[in-house]
Amino acid sequence: MNVTRVLPLFVLALVVAAVAQPAAAQGPIKIGEINSFSGIGAPFTGPYRAAVEMAVEEINAKGGVLGRKVEVLFRDDKGQPAEAVKHAQELVAGEKVALVSGTFLSNVGLAVSDWAKQNKTLFVAAEPLTEAITWSKGHDYVFRVRPNTYEQGRMLAEKAGKMKYVKWATIGPNYEYGKRAWETFRERLKELKPGVQVVGEQWPTLGKIDPSAEVGAILAANPDALYVSLFGSDWLAFVREAGKRGLFQKTFVVGILLGEPEYIDPLKTEAPEGMLVTGYPWYDLQQPAHKEFVARFTKKTDKTPVLGSLVGYVTYLSIFEAIKKAGSTDTEKLVAAFRDLKVETPIGPISYRAFDGQSTMGAWVGMTKVDAKRGVGIMVNHEYISGERVLPSPDEVKKMRSGG
């Protein structure tokens, strides 16, 4: 073997691969699912994937959609936008998927969304939180399931604005999510309570927090209340340090997403009590459809659900519903079907707004408490706030789309 034979082999392999492409017959409906199964998003995408698989198994057991089975092709974007775009190309051009769905990180979501716009492919963004996806960088071919940073920040501000705290500080990851989560919250808070002062902002690098130094800096600023948009490993490390140094005794904490099982469960009984958070109190939800969802998910995975599981399930219910409504897998028809699409989900009906593609799925806002019996933090006194209550009007969206 030598290189003069090796080189043309690659070219040959490509040609063979080309010829061997299976013809797209009336087989299953294929859906491309791109998500961060490795890298920084990996800790959160496992339960999402399990719920997607569950949704697909269930629909196929009922005979599929439009009389065809559904097949989901999973691809790992490694947390890199360019990698996600590569998969989108492969899924659409090679596998002939009807649409592309998924993504966890905001920048990956934006990259796939822009690709979808350019290539006139439907993209259903499941988890990324950036508002830009549906607003400043929004377009006809993108729809988003989860309530975004703006919505969740506003939900928290409505509650925090009624509280006595005046001197505020924040800590969040040094990227768009952290900054926007804080800005939307702060703006609304100042509207509600004009005397609010900001005494400190901490922006540790995502995934590389030095908790000791950050807690020291916050204690030095001496705020009454702290707005936290850390998540994942940064948040876990921060809690332990802050707990030891008495931060939670001195300071009221508001945490975006921090009531989600993804972020509160790993803390076990160390979860700080009395925080105002958005999250997902699956253990308290009484709707029969949701109880069934929890039972089926727990049976399938031996684990209790996290918000990612719910989002994955709702995303695919929405996709099935849209295909049914469109009566076809044609992109333009699917896009039309998604506009004002109504979906019955385990947590009640949601719809996709026609003018920006944002779903009206909401979030729960409540206080944290440690449940000694289960040995984890939970949310109490929570309230479900639907997206309709905090989302901007069509005119405001129009302004953001033209300005961005």
């Binding site: 800790p43 496992g46 905001s106 934006l110 040094n174």
Partner: protein, 610 residues
């Protein structure tokens, strides 16, 4: 800012510094003796943390479990280090310098997936250290007891190491080998014994660092990559191979970070790298490092010849295939081919630096990113048309390379590499934070080719023209008198100077040329993907072309594009078919490195030499 705040913040910085020191000292020792740039050091650290986590939760010793788990994890990871050195690294010491880097890179991939398989991807919170879980008041402010203990552990380990190096025969030999390992071998000391033992010690130190982090940090499957760059920075700032240097640098960086957080919270991305850049510009061998002895430099071991490694007619056959085949291929493979071309050019531009220049860059992603952003900004900000933006972009990259290169070429070997890394990271931070211009981490979107170039096949031909043209020019530059002079400067800088060569000027120029073509690769890439993101500047993006060049074979020019093609195809196929692509890719890389210890092209070049 009151005095108590300052003091407590200082303690915070010291606690972090001690963990950094433990990891960096091991890394520094390993490099000092074996010259292995051990990317897998972070993986050893991560492994120890997970082992400690599991042992503390399962050992039937109650509160004492953690304290038993730490030394056990340390020993366990030391054993892993032993196996890695004896089974893998030992086989490639004879390969050109840096080939070991390829192996350790493969190990990073493998360990990452093994940890995911063994422990799951979810984040984990480890146990607190029993008895040390609380905090003590210092000037009326609470400070964790455990961190105080850590602050004591660091200097104790440093003292232990210093005793080892000054009082034991083994330590004396290690010091001697760090200075001149050939001489030590010539004096009758079996270098294999030194290499193995030092690797085990280094691994165990990484293990200690990982195990002691468990009560302070949560466990994640990306903690390996989160720590490794910082550890390298500490090693280089301290001076490669110097344990006291590592301690000093760890303290410097830990403390500067702790106060940086207090004073400039937005700068957290970049503080460390600015410190490193400043130190290296002022002290090119780190704080306590020594200049490397000339004469047995990298050039002598790489022995890169001016040969292409490929008979010329095959170049034409390949080119003909690249022109003729794409219309027959499905669209997706056409875009994979564009990606291969992009990385072939990117790797080839690095090869000019690494091969002909003997300058290994860890920051070549800066060229790629600058090309990508240059094109994107030329369109978005300057309103230029796509073809013009495409042409302008590489010049933007070259211009930045001119500035960065001015500082970098004054340094040599690993210090050069780390300074390029520092500049790449600084560029990353600027792009990441300058929302108004670069769009921050949300990137720049809508960077698509002009409509008349927008079909995959048309864009492919543009990419082919740009990349094949670029590669041909690089090949020409490498074999032209300029390239030959560059080789002379690499193999013996002083002799080259004696015959009148301006070594730095040539290296600087090579840096700019490499920057230009790296930028062209970045520009071609950005129009393929339609968007530009800060991750184009990432460490991973810098390591990729390095891996490609080594995989293909650094000793001949054709190795770079060949390695790029093989790597991109392997990666594309592995990610398509398995979630555990890292494991698959890692195992394949290990196999390739062991089978072709001089790169894939080595089979040709070796045969010709025989």
């Amino acid at each position: 800012m009151t005095l108590p705040i300052v003091f407590v913040q200082l303690l915070s910085g010291l606690a972090h510094a001690m963990v950094l020191f433990l990891i960096a000292s091991g890394l520094s020792l390993i490099f000092g003796v074996t010259r292995v740039v051990n990317f897998a050091h972070g993986s050893l650290y991560m492994l120890a943390a997970y082992v400690t986590y599991t042992l503390s939760n399962t050992l039937p010793l109650g509160a004492a479990s953690f304290y038993v788990a730490v030394p056990l994890a340390c020993l366990g990871v030391g054993l892993v280090g032993f196996l890695v050195e004896v089974i893998l690294l030992r086989r490639v010491y004879k390969s050109p310098e840096l080939y070991q880097l390829l192996l350790t890179f493969a190990l990073v991939l493998i360990v990452s997936d093994l940890v995911k398989l063994g422990w799951g991807a979810e984040n984990k919170t480890g146990p607190s250290a029993p008895g040390l879980a609380g905090a003590v008041p210092i000037f009326g402010r609470l400070f964790p007891t455990y961190d105080l203990v850590l602050i004591a552990v660091g200097p104790l380990v440093a003292l232990g190491l210093s005793w080892l190096f000054s009082r034991t025969r083994w330590g004396v030999l290690i010091r001697a080998a760090t200075l001149d390992r050939e001489m030590v071998a010539a004096l009758g000391v079996d270098p294999r014994y030194l290499f193995t033992t030092v690797f085990v010690l280094g691994a165990a130190l990484a293990g200690l660092g990982g195990a002691l982090q468990v009560p302070r940090q949560s466990l994640t499957i990306v903690m390996d990559t989160a720590i490794i760059t910082e550890a390298f920075v500490v090693v280089v700032v301290g001076g490669m191979g110097s344990v006291p240097g590592a301690l000093l640098a760890a303290i410097l960086i830990g403390v500067i970070q702790a106060f940086g957080v207090l004073v400039l919270p937005n700068a957290s991305l970049v503080t460390t790298f600015v410190v490193m850049a400043v130190v290296l510009i002022v002290r090119p061998w780190g704080l306590l490092g020594r200049p490397e002895s000339q004469g047995r430099g990298a050039g002598a071991t790489i022995a890169v010849t001016a040969q292409r490694g490929l008979p010329p007619y095959w170049t034409w056959v390949l080119l003909a295939a690249l022109v003729a085949a794409p219309p027959l291929l499905p669209t997706f493979y056409v875009s994979v081919l564009v990606e291969i071309l992009v990385f072939a050019l990117f790797a080839a531009s690095l090869h000019l630096l690494m091969g002909a220049g003997g300058m290994v860059s860890f920051g070549h992603a800066a060229a790629f990113g600058l090309g990508a952003y240059g094109a994107a900004l030329a369109m978005k900000l300057a309103g230029l048309s796509m073809p013009v933006a495409f042409v302008v972009a590489p010049f933007a990259a070259a211009l930045c390379a001119l500035v960065i290169g001015f500082f970098c070429v004054r340094l040599s070997s690993i210090y050069f590499a780390m300074l390029t890394l520092a500049f790449a990271q600084i560029a990353y931070a600027i792009v990441h934070q300058w929302y108004a211009v670069t769009g921050g981490d949300n990137g720049l979107l809508g960077i698509w080719p002009a409509p008349w170039l927008a079909t995959p096949i048309r864009y492919y031909y543009l990419a082919l023209a740009a990349c094949a043209g670029g590669i041909a020019l690089l090949d020409r530059i490498g074999t032209a008198p300029f390239g030959l002079v560059l080789r002379a400067a690499r193999d013996h800088a002083r002799r080259a100077e004696t015959v009148g060569v301006n070594v730095r000027l040539h290296q600087w120029l090579a840096f700019v040329i490499a920057g230009f073509f790296g930028g062209l690769a970045g520009a071609t890439f950005v129009f393929l993907k339609g968007s530009a993101f800060p991750e184009y500047f990432s460490v991973a993006r810098s390591v990729e072309p390095l891996v490609m060049v080594l995989l293909g074979g650094v000793q001949a020019f054709a190795g770079a594009p060949l390695g790029a093609a093989v790597y991109t195809l392997l990666d594309t196929v592995a990610t398509k078919y398995t979630e555990y692509w890292q494991l698959v890719l890692g195992v394949i890389l290990v196999t390739l490195v062991l089978a072709f210890p001089r790169g894939i092209l080595g089979i040709v070049t070796d045969r010709r030499r025989d």
